[in-house]
Structures are given as C-alpha cells and as structure tokens.
C-alpha cells in the first residue's frame, strides 16, 4: 500500500506504471531501430543525441505537431475513435501486470485471464480503423488482422492454460512464486514455443505482420492515419509488445523469483525481471529482422494445423502428469519431445515436393 485511501493508492500506482511504460516505449522504438540497423550492418539513428538516443523523442514531437488528417469519405466517428479503442485496452492490461511481488497496480486473482482477454480487444480498434477509413487497403488489412488475431488467440490462451494447470492458479504472483526452483520453460518447452509464435502473431510483428504488410497493402488499417492518431496506434502496439514480453518472462522464465529467490528485495527483482523482459524483446526484434513475411493462407494453416493440435497435446500431457502424479521430469521430457515432433512436422511439410507432371513438347497447331 502506498497510501491509505484506495483511490489515491490506485491513482498513484497507475500513474507510476503509465510513466514507466511511456519511457519503456520510447526506449523500445529506439532500441528496435538500433538492433534492426546492426542486423543490416547499418548504424541506426546516430545524429540526435549520443548514439541517437533521443531520436524517439524527436519523432514524438514531429508526430504530435503533424496535421491530423481525415479522408472526406471516412466514417467520422468510427475513424476518430478507432485509435482510442486500440490504445485503451493496451493500457488496461498494465493494471494486472505485476513487476515484483509488491510492485503492481492490482493483484487480480484472474490476472492471466484478464490480460489475455483485454489484449484481445485491440482487434476491435483495428477493425474500426479499417472500416472507418473508407479505403480498400485499410479494410483488407483490418480483415486480415481480425482473422489472424482471433485465430492466434486460441493457441496463445491454450499455451498459457497449460502453465496455469501446473501452477494451479491464474494469479500471476502465485504463478511466479510457484517457479522458485525451476522456471516453467524447462517443464513446458512446447508451451513456450507456442507462446512465442502466437505472441508474435498477436503483436502483428514479422514474420506475421500480414495486417500491416507495407509491401502489399501499404500499412493496412493505418494507411489513412497521420500525426497523433497514427502514433497512438503504434504506441499501443509497442505497449502490447512490452506487456506480452513481461507476461512471457513472468509465466515461463520465472519472473522475479528464479534464480535469486523471493527474499533479495525489490530493486534486484526489478532488475531481474527487466533483464528477462529485455531478453524476450531482443528475441522478438531478432526474429523480426530475420524472417520474411508469411502468406495469409500459410499463416492460417500453420495456426490451425500445427499450433492448435500441439497446444492440445501440451494440455493433455499436463493433465496426464497431474492426474497420475508423475515426476516433473516426465513433463519436461514429454513436452520437449512434442516440441521436436512439431518442428519435424513443419520441416517435413515445408520440404515436401509436389511430384511434377510428366510433360512433353506439343507442336503448335498448323505446323506439320
């Protein structure tokens, strides 16, 4: 408790978290450009400040002072409200996100469920943006986005559910406290793999940036937006990246608990969880600048034919281990084997060659 009055307490905590997140987003955008630059043997931003560190602040000022344009044919209220509908849910998720055992806004009993539910809401903002823009590219992007986000929500939830089964709780603090000895990534490698892939799709990042594909539909739902509304969409996107990275490090990497334990005090714990979150973020950036974009049919078939069955496998394995009280090692082994099988299946299906049709040269008609 920071203050006795619950309203003041909640306000102070929310303000702290929001300030932290604004700072994190500015750093994230800068870091993303730096990492992508180094991967492409460039330097990234270098001019504004030492190593371009205030580049995102300069970008923010530029975006805020830009003209807020709206197409004449756009549906006015849908178009203007869409950024808020995308922006607010990403902030809502922060309420239930614990950074240490005591540093959170509210410790919800159904925290995990709440975060997943709220982060799914941003689809509505995307659809509103696509519909309200009166632009075919925007509508295409929004429909793609809705299909992708709804599909990948399911393996994401199932992967998290597998963890919740083992920990026996949906409370994030309790899930982290359960991982004092071994983080869940050791016992749930399959769940972790599904979580990473589904998170990438959920965040609409490469290789799953199909809704906003710049080379096909020129930015998708955001095509007609400019200035502050456009920046709100991207703020929301980066907040979501941060939230899901923190969630991943809490649920699979042991949060603030592993390996230092619960008694080292909150400063070290904050450092620890930020390190784990950074590892997740760097993984996302690494994947983003490495992998090419999937086609929409590849994306959907991968979700329904690979991720979803294996998410069920993860849950069934968990159930067997929990019901028959087998040792945890069995769980880790089974899950690891299942992850390898999933990889092998994808490998074989992607390397399957279609037998070519026998062909012969047919002379053109009229030539003897």
């Amino acid at each position: 408790m920071i203050a006795d009055n619950p309203w003041i307490d909640a306000t102070v905590r929310t303000l702290l978290v929001v300030l932290l997140v604004i700072l994190v987003v500015l750093i994230l955008i800068w870091l993303e450009r730096k990492v992508a630059g180094r991967i492409q043997m460039r330097l990234g931003p270098m001019v504004t400040g030492p190593y371009g560190i205030i580049q995102s602040a300069a970008d923010a000022i530029k975006l805020l002072t830009k003209e807020d344009l709206r197409p004449a044919t756009a549906d006015r209220w849908v178009f203007e409200l869409a950024p808020f509908v995308a922006f607010v849910p990403s902030l809502l998720a922060l309420i239930a996100l614990p950074f240490t055992a005591h540093l959170f806004v509210r410790n919800l009993e159904l925290g995990l469920f709440y975060i997943v539910a709220v982060s799914g809401l941003s689809t509505v903002g995307l659809l509103m943006a696509g519909w309200g823009s009166a632009n075919k590219y925007a509508l295409l992007g929004a429909v793609r986005g809705a299909a992708q986000l709804i599909s990948y929500e399911i393996p994401l939830v199932l992967a998290i559910l597998a963890v919740a089964m083992v920990s026996g709780s949906l409370n994030l603090v309790e899930i982290v406290n359960e991982q004092g000895r071994v983080p869940y990534i050791v016992w749930q490698p399959l769940g972790f793999a599904i979580f990473i892939i589904a998170t990438l799709a959920e965040l609409r990042r490469n290789p799953f940036d199909i809704p906003a594909a710049e080379s096909e539909i020129i930015g998708g739902p955001f095509i007609e937006y400019s200035g502050i509304r456009w920046s709100m969409f991207f703020f929301a996107e980066y907040i979501n990246v941060f939230v899901l990275s923190v969630l991943g490090s809490l649920v699979f990497l042991g949060g603030w608990n592993w390996p230092l334990g619960n008694e080292v005090g909150w400063p070290l714990q904050v450092v620890l969880i930020l390190l784990k979150t950074s590892a997740m973020l760097l993984l996302f950036m690494w994947l983003r600048s490495t992998l090419p974009r999937l086609r929409i049919d590849q994306l959907m078939s991968f979700c329904w034919q690979v991720l979803l069955p294996f998410a069920f496998v993860a849950i069934i394995v968990n159930g067997l281990v929990l019901v028959y009280e087998w040792p945890d090692v069995v769980l880790g082994l089974l899950s690891g084997v299942a992850a390898l099988v999933a990889g092998a299946l994808v490998y074989h299906s992607s390397h399957r060659t279609v037998p070519s049709q026998p062909w012969s040269l047919v002379p053109a008609k009229g030539i003897d």
Partner: protein, 175 residues
C-alpha cells in the same frame, strides 16, 4: 524449418560485425585515385604561373560548352622568367553544365586541366546556380594549395576495384 535457424544464425553473426556505414559529413570515404570530380586547372610551381596557355582547345571540344577561355601575352615572358609567350587571361568553367566527361583533360596539350580527384571536386553544391561558375582563381585554388599531388600517376588503367584492362595480345589469341 532448419533454414529458419540458419537464417537466425546469420543475422546473429552479422550483429556483432562492424557496420559498413560511414557517417558521411563527419567521415569521408577514401576516394580512388582516378575519381572524376569536377575539372580544375593546375599550377606550375616552378615558373609560378598556370600551365594553361588559353589555347581554347578544351572549350572547343567540350560537349556541354561549359568552358570559356581568353588568351593574353605572358608578362613573365617579357621579363624573361617564362618560356611561354601566351598565357590564359580569363577562364570560366560552369560546374552546373559540366558532366565530368574527361574530354578537356584528354585534349589539353599542356596537361593544364585535370579532374579533381579529391572531395573538393565533389562537394560543390551552392545555393545559387550562378555560384557554380568558377573563374581562374577558383579553378587554381586546389592545385595551389597542394591538394592535387601527382594527378597523372601511373598506372592509369588501374581502377580502385582492382579491375585492369586485359593485355591486347590475349584477346587476339582467343580470337
């Protein structure tokens, strides 16, 4: 699937490599010796006069007609200091029209004009296009300052990339 991990390995190996970017206005790339910048005139340090006699051959051969030259009697010849009877009086070269084709250098009988192979031969942008017309003093400044050392250095056929023309005999044998 394996290619995916291979790709991840590739990007990971690139990230620890040194970036190829040079921060251009602060850092200048080393230019090859045969770089074609804009043409400048050469200064004869022994006689203390320009090599150019004002014979107008460059102006006549220039495809874009960016050179204008006039000639005068050499005052140093009257004093006996120079062997050259005529010398350049006024020389105007419009960098806005020049296309750096090297023809003026090829036709010059006195090796008096050369394409500036230093960065000052490239960074010539001006706010007013009239400032791109250079007079004799502008054109001689680089050479007088010692910026163009040995501009006709051999081997002339060797480019920076290591490319060199094949000896003529080889081609004849192949045919």
């Amino acid at each position: 699937m394996l290619g995916l991990f291979k790709a991840l390995g590739t990007t990971l190996s690139v990230i620890v490599r040194k970036p190829v970017t040079l921060q251009y206005p602060a850092v200048h790339k080393e230019l090859p010796h045969r770089t074609r910048g804009f043409p400048v005139l050469l200064w004869n340090f022994e006689v203390v006069e320009p090599f150019c006699t004002g014979c107008r051959v460059c102006a006549r051969y220039c495809p874009s007609e960016c050179i204008s030259v006039t000639m005068k009697d050499n005052p140093l010849y009257a004093e006996g200091k120079s062997k050259r009877r005529k010398i350049v009086d006024r020389f105007y070269l419009d960098y806005g029209r020049c296309m750096r084709c090297n023809i003026c250098v090829e036709v010059c009988n006195f090796d008096a004009i050369v394409l500036n192979n230093s960065w000052s031969g490239h960074e010539v942008s001006r706010y007013d296009r009239r400032d791109l017309v250079n007079d004799l003093d502008d054109l001689l400044a680089e050479s007088k300052g010692g910026g163009l050392t040995n501009p006709f250095r051999e081997p002339l056929g060797m480019a920076h990339s290591g490319w060199s023309p094949k000896p003529r005999g080889e081609k004849a044998e192949a045919e």
